[in-house]
Symmetry: C2
Subunit: 335 residues, 2 copies
């Protein structure tokens, strides 16, 4: 089967670009120095490729991501890099058969984890982004609370999400300052793990013992604009379904229900995207260029990989001649 | 089972608001004067409620929406209100056992429909929105082309999508002008059907024989801001998972993978949404107000119903005492 045989919209993964991305990261962060974040791709089939590249610890943002990884036998060491107080989901994680650690940042999250039978936690520390995480100065007391509740405290985590696409000139110093907060917390918490970072700070963050990154595998235009060396492996195949007879625009069959829109419009190389509707993208030709015709296939680059993948049931892995090498189920969707 | 028993994030449908919305529209557009658009809710269970309210014709934006409706026995008269050139999907529609009409706006779409065994079409006419549709002056020739290809031409459709949330003072005249283009096309095309409109023009558009509306059933803040009388039936239940100890913000467990973001942030009544991340929304209290505590449940109002529902597997229908009356599968997702 070939790309031309696919119905659209459909996600494509360029096998060569994907492999290059995985190899580049594995060279920088081999084995357990990377804890791949499955939230970016939500696919156990893709995760299995990362295992083959030497990574056997993973993190996720939802219970379903971790339960799916455990069920697929990819659960040597799974981290819920998020707070969770739902007893049913915490109990499912505790009973899934894999080694599961969860993040805690409050007495309430510690109590919920302990009550559900979770055995290991990381203390989540606020390092500058207004989201989860306790203040560095409170981390030691929280670790103590967790230990008294019978939990093993493996260390700390902190996500410098506000710095992922910071200008290069400022990034190093800003990441160092954020990680100083995490290391301050680690001094009082103890444990082997200092977990943090992401695709945008993969080369900058020298302070974590393990990097939480997932987007690098597939990439998007938001991360590419930050000058990262990873290649666009993910694209959205679409079909032109209508062309304005006066040549002002054309319309393809992939819209905002096939794309994450929080980082803006997708990119259609060679054309100018005018706007996305539910199931359409309207685009214009650059000056002097010709519009495609009805039935032509185009490939869009998503602005944000995570919410784009979450709309799809599968990703098709394509080789250099547009043959379909594999189809990866997006089997970790939902919560 | 009650709302408190649900894991989050979860979509809730207020049964009373939903029924009121359905009744209000059915009073304005009874029976076949409304062709409910399933793209807004992607659920055969919800569609069955509309059948019970007297509507037995439907439209959709994707082949899967229509094939699912046909399989559920809700296929008295289904319209693909979109252009499609995929032979496999057109053949599936032609063979699904239901009466299926498709929109055409070019020689290529006519040829694709005829080749696949589609029997009935509407000519899609551009009425002012830069998307699909042929010019009004070309509609007659296109109808002739379709009839020569053996297709029955049932009439015309045109979507004044650019006017859905136009200011009230301008809407009536603008919709009339758009529909003048559609009626001009209809004069040369013939057939019984003049299809168009949507939730935003349900009371304004007096020119169509059938209105294509779906969002009115569930509603969102974008449509509500336009002053429509439909109630918020849809909300997103979430759980507070982290609260800043200094009281500057709190974080819940529903983010941009549980919400369509193209119309902006969701609304959290009583609080100020600061930003959404993949699986979180960070929000602040209004001056002097108190933040909730970890474990508290809140309900967010989505900015755009269609792409929000498309992220979820189900919607829970709730009664006046927060009891769960029914759970509707979102079974028409994908393409």
């Amino acid at each position: 089967m070939r790309v031309d045989d696919l119905s659209t919209p459909a996600l494509l993964v360029d096998a060569d670009a994907f492999s290059a991305n995985v190899a580049r990261m594995a060279a920088q962060r081999p084995g357990g120095m990377l804890r791949p974040h499955v939230k970016a791709f939500k696919s156990t089939a893709l995760a299995a490729e990362l295992v083959a590249a030497g990574h056997d610890t993973f993190c996720g943002a939802t219970a379903r991501e971790l339960l799916g990884m455990a069920a697929a036998g990819l659960g040597d060491d799974l981290l819920l890099a998020n707070e969770l107080v739902d007893p049913r989901r915490l109990q499912a994680l505790a009973a899934c058969g894999a080694r599961v650690s969860v993040a805690v940042d409050s007495a309430a999250t510690v109590a919920a984890a302990a009550a559900a039978g979770i055995r290991e936690v990381l203390v989540d520390v606020a390092v500058g982004m207004p989201r989860c995480g306790c203040p560095p100065g409170a981390a030691g007391r929280l670790a103590e609370l967790a230990r008294r509740a019978g939990l093993e405290v493996r260390g700390v985590m902190g996500y410098e999400g506000h710095l992922m696409t910071a200008p290069a000139a400022e990034k190093a110093a800003a990441v160092e300052a954020a990680m100083a907060r995490l290391l301050e917390a680690h001094d009082s918490v103890g444990g082997d793990i200092v977990s943090g970072g992401g695709t945008g700070t993969y080369a900058t963050n020298q302070w974590v013992t393990e990097l939480q990154a997932g987007s690098y595998t597939l990439m998007d235009t938001h991360y590419a604009a930050a000058g990262l060396p990873f290649r666009h492996a993910l694209s959205l195949l679409c079909t032109v379904i209508s062309v304005d007879p006066r040549g002002r625009w054309a319309v393809c069959d992939a819209g905002l229900k096939a794309l994450g829109m929080d980082h803006g419009d997708p990119t259609l190389t060679g054309f100018e995207v005018l706007f996305c509707s539910d199931e359409h993208t309207t685009f214009a030709a650059h000056d002097g260029a010709r519009l495609p015709k009805v039935g032509d296939r185009l490939r869009m680059l998503p602005a944000h990989v995570d919410p784009t993948v979450a709309y799809h049931e599968s990703m098709h892995v394509i080789g250099p001649d547009d043959d379909i090498i594999d189809t990866w189920a997006v089997d970790l969707r939902g919560w």
